[in-house]
Symmetry: C2
Subunit: 562 residues, 2 copies
C-alpha cells in the first residue's frame, strides 16, 4: 500500500485559472484542470472609452475555481491509481497582482452584491482591478512624487517609481473617479488574499490574512516602517486612503503560513477533504520561481511576453537596497529569504511584434529562427535595444523605446530577428550584473515560461551572452506547481506535506536534462557586443552618461568582419 | 517656313545609351532612342571571383551609340513635321564616371584591338573600368593617406577622402594587379572624354580634349596646382603613374567647348550633317543638373537609388573649400561657375531594402506609401539614420550604418517606412545646410530622378523637412537634355544653338506645374525632429561630438503625444 500524498495548486492567471494536483514526494503532476474566465474579452472587462482600463469579475474566479479543481481531480484519478481526493493534504494559491478588489464590511466583493451595477455610476470600479489596468497613471506619478519628497525609503524597495499597476495608485484613482464605489468599500483586498480567505471562510476583514508578497511588492508594506505606509503620508494624498489604512493589519504573511483550513462547503463543492490547510497566497511569478526550484545562487527567469527575473537571498545576511529592482521583500518568494524581483518589460512581445510586422510565412518564428541559427554572433553588424515596452529593470523607465543600429542594404529579417533576441539577452545580463554588483551571485540560471520551452536558439544566446549555464525547469506550469508546494508546506511534514520550502524544493522540483552551456568563442564576441550595448543603454537611458559613440558603428563592422 | 533647330544629347548610362533630340528653342523632346549594352550582365562585365569588379566593353558604347541615334532621329522625323536631321546643330555627351579606359598610342582602347583577350593574362583590365568598380579599395586608402600627409589641398576639393571609384585608384590598382595591361596602355581616357573624341576623330592623345568635370571631380585636377597631381606625388605612389601623368594635358574643358566637329564617317553612319560641333563631355549627374535648369540659388537633387545634390555659384566670387562635399570644380556643371557636388549614398536603395525585407504585397511601395500618407509628422515616435550605405556628405564615411530608435510594440511597417523617408530628408537637409553655411544659398529645390517623378509623399516630406519649395524638373531625362543643351551651346547662337548656358537654360528647361510648398505646422514638428536627428548624426558620426542623449527617446514620445 502506497503512502503518496498530494497538494493542490491554484494558479489564477490573466485569462483562466489552472488547478494542478502534484505528488508531494516527487512533484509529479498527476492532474490538471483549466477554466477560462467567462466574462468580458478573454476574461477581462474593457471599456472602449477608457483604453487603459482592465477589470475582472470576482465571480469568474469562483466559477473557474470549482470547474478547474473538479477537472484536475478527475484527471488525477484517471491517471494515477494511487490517487484519491482524500490524499490531498494542502492547497496553495497564486494570482496575478496587484489586482485589488473593493469589499464590504463582511469582506464580500462589491461586485458580488445583487444590483451593484445599478448602485454605482461607474460599476466597473466595483470589479477587480486587474494588474494591467493603467487608468491610475497620474495617481502613480503623484504617489511617486510625494514619496520622493517625504518617504524615499518607500521607493527604495520598489525601484524608485511607484507604478500605475499597483495597489495605492488604483485605490486613489477609484477615490477620485468613482467616489461612490470607494465610499461603499469598507476595504480593499488583493486577489491573492481573497482566494485563500474564501476557501477558508476567513473573508471578514478582521480575520483575512494578507500576503506579504502582495503587500510588500505592491502596497509599500515593510516591517522597516511598521507595515503599510503611514497615515500621514496617505492622508496627504487623500484622506480617504487613510481610512482604508485603518482597516489594514500590521502584519502580512508568507506562503508557508496557512490562511486557515478548507470550509466544509468548499470541501464538498470541490470534492476535497474538509479542514486541509490553505496557504496564504502569493503572486504567480513568485510561486512560479518556487516551482522552478529557486534557491540562493539560482536566477529564475520566467520568460513570456515579458520576463520576471527572481532571486532569493537569506534574510540573515544584511542586504542593501538595490537600485532599479522592482521589489525587495522578505518572505515574498520563500520564508526566511528576501524575494528579489526584477524584470524586462517585453521579450516575447518584441519577437511577436517583429514577426507580425510582415505577418507572412517568411516572418514566422520558425522560419526566422531557422535562418538566425545559421548566423554567427556579431555577423550581422547589428545592435538593438530591447525597450519596445520601456525598461523595467534597471532603468525603471516606461518612456524608453526600442532601437537598432548597424543596418546596411544587405540586412536580412533573420539578422534583425536575431539582433532582437540578443538585445533581450543583453537586457537580461544587465539585470544579472545588477544583482551581482550587490552581492547576490547567480551561479546558474533556470528559465521557465513559454519561450524557454520553445526556442533553443534563444536559450543558447542567453547562455552565451550571460556566461552562465542555463537550465530549463522540468515543469511547464511552475506557478501552479509552486502554489501546490506552498500548500504542501502549509500542511507540514507531519500531515503528508513538507516542513520547509527547502524540503519541498528538493522533493518536488527539477530541471530538464538539457543544459545550455556558454560557448567560449561566442562569449568573447558577445562580451564585446555587450560593451557596446551597455554604452547605448547608458547613453539613451541614463542622464549624464553618454560617452563618445562615434566608434560604435565602426566597432560593429569590425566585429562583423572578424 | 519654320526656323526650328535641334540638338542631340547622348547619355551613356550604366546599362544603356540614350539619344535625345531636343528643340533648341523650346527644349521639346521630339525623339528618343535607347540601346542596351549587349555584353555581360545588363551591360556590365563581372567576375564571380572578384565581386567588386565591374567593367564595360568600349565596343558596346559604339554599337549603342549608332543604334540609339538612328532610333532617335527616326522618332523625331515621325513625330515632328518640322524636323529633319539637317536641322541638328550640335551634339553633347554625358557618361558615367569615373570610368577610365586604357588606350594605346593612337587613342584606341586596348579592348578594341584584335586578340586583346589573349594578349593579357587579365583581359578584363583592358576594358573600361566602370564607375562602380570597387576593386581599388586599398589603393584609394593609400592615395588618401599620402595626400593627407603631403597634399591636403588635393583632398579639400573632394570631401577629404579619395574614392576607390576614382581615376587614380583604378590606374594604381591596374598597375599593381595587371601590369601587362598597364604597360600596354599609352594613357587612360575617361569615357566622357573618349566619346566626343571618337565622334570628332580626335582620339589621338595629343588632340583629345579632357573634360574638366571628369578631371576635376575624379582625377584631382585643379588650376590651383597646375592641373593634374604633380609627378612627385604620383611617383611616390608608383612611378608608372608618373609616366601616365606625362601623357596628360595641362588643361581641361567645360561642356560649352567643342571637342571638334562630327567626322564625315560618323555623320554618314548616324545620318547627321557633317561638321556639326560635338561638345566636350561631362558626367551624367552634372549635365542632369543642367537639364533640370540649375542656376545659382537652385539646389538640384537627382534622386534615385542614391542622390546627387548639385549647386553652382559664380567663379567670380571667392569660394572657400567646403568640408564634406564630394567635389568643387570650376566649370564642371556650367562654365563660369563652380560646380558643387554632394550626395547621399542611399535613398531609393533604402526604401527598396525595406520593401524587400518582407517582399509581400503589404510591403509594396504603393501600400506602404498609402498608409504612411495618413500619418502626421512625429506621430510614430520614430527617428532613423539614413546610413545604410554609409554617408557620402557631409561625413564622408562609408563605415557608417543605418539606425532607428523609438520603436514600440505598436510600431507599424508604414511608420518605419515613413521614418526612413524622413531620415533621407534629414540627410538632404544636412547637405543643404552645409552649402548654406558656406554662403551657397538654396532658394528653391528642383528634384529629378525616378523617385521625384513617382512619389508625392516623399516630395512633400522633403519640402516640409527642408523648408523650401520643391519643384520637379519638366524633363524626366535631364542628363540627355543637359547633354543636348551643351551641344546647342557648343554650336553657338549664330549656328542655331545658344550663346550661353544661361540662354539654353532659359529656352530649353522648365519645371512641372506642381510645387510642393512647405506646410508651416509640419515644418515646426520636423524642425524639432531634425534637431534630434542632428544630435544622433553627430553622436554616431563625428568623433567627440556626442552630447547627452538621455532625453532623445522621451522627446520623441513628447512630440508623438503632441
Amino acid at each position: 500500500m502506497t503512502t503518496n500524498t498530494y497538494a493542490l495548486g491554484l494558479d489564477f492567471g490573466t485569462q483562466s485559472v489552472r488547478a494542478l494536483v502534484a505528488d508531494t514526494g516527487t512533484g509529479e503532476e498527476v492532474g490538471v484542470g483549466v477554466a477560462a474566465y467567462p466574462s468580458g474579452t478573454d476574461g477581462t472587462l474593457l471599456d472602449p472609452e477608457r483604453p487603459n482600463l482592465a477589470r475582472q469579475h470576482p465571480g469568474d474566479y469562483l466559477r473557474g475555481l470549482t470547474e478547474s479543481v473538479r477537472d484536475a481531480l478527475g484527471e488525477a484519478a484517471a491517471n494515477e491509481e494511487t490517487f484519491a481526493p482524500a490524499r490531498v493534504v494542502g492547497i496553495g494559491v497564486d494570482t496575478t497582482g496587484s489586482t485589488p478588489i473593493p469589499v464590504d464590511e463582511t469582506g464580500r466583493p462589491l461586485a458580488l452584491r445583487d444590483g451593484f451595477d445599478e448602485a454605482f455610476s461607474d460599476p466597473l470600479a466595483a470589479q477587480a482591478w486587474l494588474w494591467k489596468d493603467h487608468t491610475a497613471h497620474a495617481e502613480a506619478e503623484e504617489i511617486t512624487a510625494l514619496a520622493e519628497e517625504r518617504r524615499p525609503e518607500y521607493l527604495a524597495k520598489c525601484g524608485g517609481t511607484y507604478s500605475s499597476e499597483w495597489f495605492w495608485s488604483k485605490l486613489l484613482h477609484c477615490a477620485r473617479t468613482a467616489p461612490g464605489v470607494f465610499e461603499a468599500a469598507h476595504t480593499w483586498v488583493e486577489h491573492a488574499d481573497w482566494m485563500p480567505a474564501v476557501l477558508t471562510g476567513a473573508e471578514h476583514p478582521d480575520r483575512l490574512k494578507r500576503s506579504i508578497c502582495a503587500a510588500g511588492h505592491k502596497a509599500m508594506f515593510s516591517d522597516e516602517w511598521g507595515g503599510y505606509p503611514d497615515a500621514d503620508f496617505l492622508e496627504t494624498l487623500d484622506e480617504r486612503l487613510a481610512q482604508v489604512r485603518r482597516t489594514l493589519p500590521d502584519e502580512a504573511h508568507d506562503s508557508s503560513t496557512p490562511a486557515g483550513t478548507l470550509t466544509p462547503e468548499w470541501a464538498e463543492r470541490l470534492g476535497l477533504p474538509e479542514a486541509i490547510p490553505v496557504a496564504v497566497g502569493a503572486f504567480d511569478a513568485h510561486l512560479g520561481a518556487v516551482g522552478a526550484g529557486i534557491q540562493p545562487g539560482t536566477l529564475v527567469k520566467i520568460i513570456g511576453t515579458s520576463t520576471c527575473d527572481l532571486m532569493v537571498t537569506p534574510t540573515e545576511r544584511d542586504l542593501p537596497d538595490i537600485p532599479g529592482l522592482c521589489g525587495i521583500v522578505p518572505g515574498s518568494v520563500r520564508p526566511g529569504h528576501y524575494g528579489l524581483e526584477a524584470g524586462q518589460s517585453a521579450v516575447g512581445d518584441i519577437f511577436n511584434w517583429f514577426t507580425e510586422l510582415a505577418g507572412s510565412d517568411d516572418f514566422s518564428h520558425e522560419a526566422l529562427t531557422a535562418e538566425a541559427e545559421q548566423l554567427q554572433p556579431g555577423e550581422s553588424g547589428l545592435l538593438a535595444l530591447d525597450w519596445h515596452n520601456g525598461n523595467r529593470t534597471v532603468l525603471v523607465d516606461q518612456r524608453l523605446t526600442g532601437g537598432v543600429i548597424g543596418m546596411t542594404l544587405r540586412t536580412t529579417p533573420a539578422e534583425l530577428y536575431r539582433a532582437l533576441i540578443e538585445a533581450t539577452a543583453f537586457g537580461a545580463r544587465v539585470i544579472m550584473e545588477r544583482y551581482e554588483e550587490y552581492g547576490v551571485e547567480a551561479e546558474r540560471i533556470v528559465n521557465c515560461g513559454g519561450i524557454a520551452a520553445k526556442n533553443e536558439l534563444v536559450m543558447q544566446i542567453y547562455a552565451d551572452v550571460m556566461g552562465r549555464p542555463i537550465q530549463l525547469s522540468q515543469s511547464d506550469q511552475t506557478p501552479a506547481l509552486g502554489a501546490a508546494m506552498s500548500g504542501a508546506v502549509a500542511a507540514g511534514a507531519g500531515d503528508g506535506g513538507h516542513a520547509t520550502f527547502d524540503d519541498a524544493t528538493a522533493a518536488m522540483t527539477g530541471v530538464q536534462d538539457t543544459v545550455f552551456d556558454p560557448t567560449a568563442k561566442h562569449q568573447q564576441v558577445y562580451d564585446r557586443l555587450f560593451g557596446l550595448y551597455r554604452r547605448l543603454h547608458d547613453a539613451f537611458g541614463v542622464e549624464g552618461q553618454s560617452d563618445d559613440l562615434a566608434d560604435v558603428m565602426k566597432t560593429l563592422l569590425e566585429i562583423r568582419d572578424a
